[in-house]
Symmetry: C2
Amino acid sequence: MRAITVLPGLAGSVRLDERPTPNPAEGAILVRTLLLGVCGTDAEIVSGYYGAAPPGAERLVLGHESLGEVVEAPPDSGFVQGDHIVGVVRRPDPVPCPACAAGEWDMCRNGLYTEHGIKELDGFGAEYFRVAPEAAVKVEPSLGDLGVLIEPASIVAKAWDHMERIGARAKVWQPRRLLVSGAGPIGFLAALMGRQRGLDVHVFDRNRDGPKPDLIRGLGATPHHDIDDAVALAPDLWVECTGAPAVIAKAFTATAPAGILCLLGVSAPMRVEIDLGALNRDLVLGNRVVFGAVNANRDHYLSAAAALAQADRDWLVGLITRRVPLRHFAAAFRREADDIKVVIDFRK
Amino acid sequence: MRAITVLPGLAGSVRLDERPTPNPAEGAILVRTLLLGVCGTDAEIVSGYYGAAPPGAERLVLGHESLGEVVEAPPDSGFVQGDHIVGVVRRPDPVPCPACAAGEWDMCRNGLYTEHGIKELDGFGAEYFRVAPEAAVKVEPSLGDLGVLIEPASIVAKAWDHMERIGARAKVWQPRRLLVSGAGPIGFLAALMGRQRGLDVHVFDRNRDGPKPDLIRGLGATPHHDIDDAVALAPDLWVECTGAPAVIAKAFTATAPAGILCLLGVSAPMRVEIDLGALNRDLVLGNRVVFGAVNANRDHYLSAAAALAQADRDWLVGLITRRVPLRHFAAAFRREADDIKVVIDFRK
């Protein structure tokens, strides 16, 4: 079978390899890949900045945003041939930390987890992959290709889960206004889930052109292109998806009193000068929270699937802006203007 | 009666004034002041950096860390003559925000609260003050003078309340190690409550001399004098009480994965250069939380009183390092080496 592989740490090493179909020891369910989503983490791995091959292997099979069709599954697995599924990315170490042992591997304490397509575990970017039943999430058939959005949506579902739990530190917590910075797939999905909660949603993105402003409006949300206009909104919740230090520096203390800033964007090192005294004071006197969230556990995949199932299908379709056939896979890693979610089609 | 007053905004304006005893309209309970604690906020007000007089008044009666004895109370108030009480500092606006309306004025959303001795409401630094029964907290008689620690302890009780609620965003949350930076009254009380929860407690303070290291050890905690030694502990919880940007810059990402940094220290503006890209990345990939907490609601005063009642009295006595008779009140605002909590004695 064909698989997209990379030599971790070496930029430009991504290629299509011929690999044997996976061994049943890798999981009882055999899955034929339909679509593979590409995200910023894949771009980092392809650029040689991130990623680790499985122990003993040189190359890593790339890909963690999956959508596949079950080819074979054990009778008692809860899955049957033809089911659409998504693979769970992070897996606990055989000797799990207390969080991983409880299925909360997204909050792993000792860093010994593995991640398909990222860290020491081959990814889903192959024509076939195998997963254990507990690491597979069933996709509602009516979602069709949109099931490939479940993995990125799981990240956002976790962010909402934690924002709501952190918000509940106050007995009275009635957030009204959400600001999302960065209109990429994660930002759009955060805005979607904010609208699903009845919030007044605003999205900051520098780009005035392309499909993004209309997609924001299509959600009943308001686009902003000037960060200072966004800051002036004093949102109760801010989901930060740009990873841009210039935006983050403003976001820390721009929420309303008791407000929550959720950081989801991963950034490169960048030294900047900020007034840390004033920042600390504003966090303290405003009872403000800043937190980071990464990855997702099985519950988050399930709420992500539910959130997508409730969303407008036409709007969701607009998030997938480019489909690249497997043979042209390399084009998926080249960023184009107006890209939101780019997917690699394994059926072509 | 004598009252310590200040002209907000004017350094050096603090003085002893003669004032009429308070009007019953200010609260049904008449209280004779026993002790008044002095803290960093008082020092800021005395220095002219903070504080606001009541509407229509020029001067503000200072003081918010109270301990008093009930002189008269209505029969149905729950208080009788001779009861020791502490006054609640923050009061909601007559038209309260939803948080204030629910008694959670410490999480006020619109900033219209008032604060005794700080913001638009005379303080407890007078020979008599009046409070409404709902703004008075009864002190267990056996605590004696240590009741003056209830107000600062209420700030710490809130911090613990919020740390525990935020910790519970994870299904599995078993913090083991606490680091406290800054061995002032707030830091010591945070360490005390950490020990009461069975944690491995470490306290960072630059001072190697004076009574602090022994007080830290007396709690069964470990003193540290080098911030990098403290950072290397990778605590699950960090309570930051120095307000020093150099400490805060390190604290943001020094907690263990899923760790929580609680900011309690108020700092002056100070521009510093930090790697905000790396900071953001570490918050995201480590699921870390940073939050500020200020003030306390009635529930926090009650848990503060309970925590002090359970603590070793001899150890607590060591926190009150200086007692200044009212006639020498000005000495209480001059910082001396080895000061922890300085109190003004209104009986002398």
